[in-house]
C-alpha cells in the first residue's frame, strides 16, 4: 500500500523542503507521535499524530489550498498522511522524503531535546508539555545561570523553585549562618542545619531536590571589590538584599554589565517586586534616586515579617526569572507590583526611566573600562554622610 500511495503523492527532498520553509507561506506538519516530537522536531513543525489526523488537521492547517509539507521519522507515515489529506480536500500537499532522519543527515537544524537525558525528559515533562516552554525552553533553563543575592527570606523560596525548574547554575551570595529565627520563613534551611553557613545549607537542599543544578557558593559579602567578578558570570541576578548600600551597589554594577535584576523586598505584611532590565526599562535608581533615612528604612529583624510573605514575593521573583530565561510573557519591566497580604491586594505602579538618572540616564557618564568596579561609598551615601 505504501508503494501505491507514494506513487500518487508529491515527495520532495529535505533541501527542497527547507527552501520552501524559508520562503514562507508553508504549513509544516509533523506526523509522528508526541514522544518523538518532544525529542526533536523541525522548528516550525506542528504536531499532528497519524491517529489523530482526521480530527486535528483542520486546526493545524485550516487553509486547504495552502502549501503543506508533511514529515515523519523516515518518510513513510508522512506519505500516508499526505494521501489522507488529499482525500480530505487538501490540494497542495507534499511529503518530505527520508523524514527528519534525512533532514538531520544533511545537517539541517532541528529543535532538539538531545541535550536532555531520559531522566530529565521525565523530570521536566510538565514544563516541556507547555508550548511556551517545550524541550528547547527547558534546555534554555538547564543552560541558564542565576545569581541569588541572599539565601534568606526571599532567596529561599526563589532558590527552591528555580532549582526545581532546572536552572542549571544557581549562585548564592550570603555570609550568614542558619539561625533558629530564620526557619519561620527560610524554607530551604532546617533545624538540623542551625549554625551551618546558609550557602552550604542551601546547596545541600538544592542538591537533594535536583541533581541537575550546579550550586556555586559565594560565602561572603558582596562589595565593590568583588561585585563585577561575581555577577559577571551570571545571566540574571535576583536581589533579596536587606540593605540599601547593597541594592544601590548591585544596581550600578548590573547597569554597567547590562545584567537584568529581579528585585523584591518585604516588610511586615507588605512586599514589592519589579524587574530591572538595563536600558530597556528603568533601573533601581530611576525608581528610588535617594535612599531614605534610617528611621524610614527599618529591617525585618527590627520590625518583623510574616513568613509566608517571603514565599509570595520570592516565588514571584522566580516567575520573573523563568520568563526572562525563556523570553516569554511580560516581565515586570517598568512596573512595580505591590502586595498587601492583610487585604490580599495587588497594586501595580508605573515606573519610567528617568532621563536624568545618574546611572542609566541619557547624560549618565560613560564609565571607562579602567573605572569599572570602582564605586562610590554606598554606606556613606545611604547614611547621608557622603561628602557630596
Amino acid at each position: 500500500m505504501a508503494t501505491d500511495t507514494r506513487a500518487s503523492i508529491e515527495e520532495i527532498q529535505p533541501f527542497e523542503a527547507q527552501q520552501e520553509i524559508e520562503g514562507g507561506g508553508v504549513v509544516l506538519i509533523d506526523t509522528r507521535e508526541p514522544h518523538e516530537y518532544q525529542e526533536a522536531h523541525l522548528e516550525a513543525g506542528k504536531l499532528v499524530p497519524p491517529g489523530l489526523l482526521a480530527d486535528e488537521i483542520e486546526a493545524a492547517a485550516p487553509d486547504k489550498s495552502a502549501r503543506t509539507i508533511l514529515y515523519c521519522r523516515s518518510g513513510s507515515r508522512s506519505a500516508l498522511a499526505a494521501a489522507q489529506m488529499e482525500a480530505l480536500g487538501y490540494s497542495d500537499v507534499a511529503s518530505m522524503e527520508g523524514g527528519i532522519i534525512a533532514w538531520q543527515e544533511q545537517g539541517l537544524p532541528v529543535v532538539s531535546a538531545a541535550g536532555m537525558t531520559a531522566e530529565q525528559r521525565d523530570r521536566y515533562s510538565r514544563h516541556t508539555l507547555l508550548p511556551e516552554v517545550g524541550p528547547d525552553g527547558q534546555i534554555k533553563l538547564l543552560n541558564s545561570k542565576v545569581l541569588l543575592l541572599g539565601a534568606g527570606g526571599l532567596g529561599a523560596p526563589t532558590a527552591l523553585y528555580l532549582a526545581a525548574a532546572g536552572v542549571g547554575t544557581i549562585g548564592l551570595v550570603d555570609d550568614d549562618v542558619v539561625d533558629a529565627s530564620n526557619l519561620q520563613r527560610q524554607v530551604i534551611h532546617n533545624t538540623e542545619r542551625i549554625g551551618m553557613p546558609k550557602t552550604e545549607s542551601a546547596r545541600l537542599f538544592i542538591e537533594a531536590l535536583n541533581p541537575d543544578v550546579k550550586v556555586v557558593e559565594h560565602n561572603g559579602r558582596l562589595d565593590s571589590s568583588n561585585i563585577l567578578e561575581i555577577i559577571g558570570d551570571y545571566d540574571i541576578v535576583v536581589d533579596g538584599a536587606d540593605n540599601f548600600p547593597t541594592r544601590y551597589l548591585l544596581n550600578d554594577a548590573s547597569v554597567r554589565l547590562r545584567k537584568p535584576v529581579v528585585s523584591a523586598s518585604i516588610l511586615g505584611f507588605d512586599g514589592q517586586v519589579s524587574t530591572f532590565v538595563p536600558y530597556e526599562g528603568p533601573c533601581y535608581r530611576c525608581l528610588y534616586p535617594t535612599p531614605p533615612p534610617a528611621e524610614l528604612a527599618p529591617s525585618c529583624s527590627a520590625n518583623g515579617v510574616l513568613g509566608v510573605m517571603a514565599g509570595t514575593m520570592g516565588t514571584l521573583q522566580a516567575n520573573e526569572v523563568i520568563k526572562l530565561v525563556l523570553g516569554i510573557g511580560e516581565p515586570l519591566v517598568g512596573r512595580l507590583l505591590l502586595y498587601e497580604a492583610l487585604g490580599t491586594r495587588f497594586t501595580e505602579l508605573k515606573v519610567r526611566r528617568d532621563p536624568d538618572c545618574p546611572i542609566c540616564g541619557e547624560n549618565a557618564p560613560q564609565v571607562p573600562e579602567s573605572e569599572l568596579g570602582k564605586f562610590p561609598d554606598y554606606e556613606a551615601f545611604c547614611s547621608g554622610t557622603a561628602a557630596a
Binding site: L149, G150, A151, G152, G153, L154, G155, V173, D174, D175, D176, K198, R221, L222, D239, G240, A241, D242, N243, F244, T246, R247, A264, S265, I266, L267, G268, F269, D270, Q272, L287, Y288, P289, T290, P291, P292, P293, L296, A297, P298, S299, C300, S301, N303, V305, L336, L338, E340, L342, G343, T347, E348, L349, K350, V351, R352
Partner: protein
C-alpha cells in the same frame, strides 16, 4: 476627597491606619491634610521648605506624580494617592 495609602513604615505615625481619607483637590493638599491629621508624618513627607522629600515617591493611582503635575496634580473622590518609600527588607547578611 482622595484616599491616601500609608506605607508600613509610616503607620506608626498614623496610629496603625493603612488608609486615610484626605481633604483637598490636589495631591499636595491631600498629603498636607494627612500631615495635619497625623503631625508625625510631616517631617517624613516634606522637607523644611515644604517640598516633597526626594526619597518619597508619590503616585496618583498608578502614575508617578513627577510625570504629572507634581504636588499640584488634581486628585478627586475615587482617586488613590500612594506614598511609596523604598524598602530593603530581605536577607540580613549582605
Amino acid at each position: 476627597m482622595p484616599t491616601v495609602k500609608i506605607p508600613p513604615v509610616l503607620r506608626a505615625q498614623t496610629g496603625g491606619e493603612a488608609e486615610v481619607k484626605a481633604e483637598g483637590a490636589t495631591v499636595g493638599d491631600a498629603l498636607r491634610s494627612l500631615a495635619d491629621l497625623h503631625p508625625d508624618t510631616e517631617s517624613q513627607l516634606f522637607s523644611p521648605d515644604g517640598e516633597l522629600n526626594r526619597y518619597v515617591n508619590v503616585y496618583l493611582n498608578d502614575e508617578d506624580v513627577r510625570v504629572l503635575d507634581g504636588l499640584d496634580t488634581t486628585a478627586s473622590e475615587g482617586d488613590t494617592v500612594v506614598i511609596l518609600p523604598a524598602m530593603a527588607g530581605g536577607s540580613t547578611a549582605l
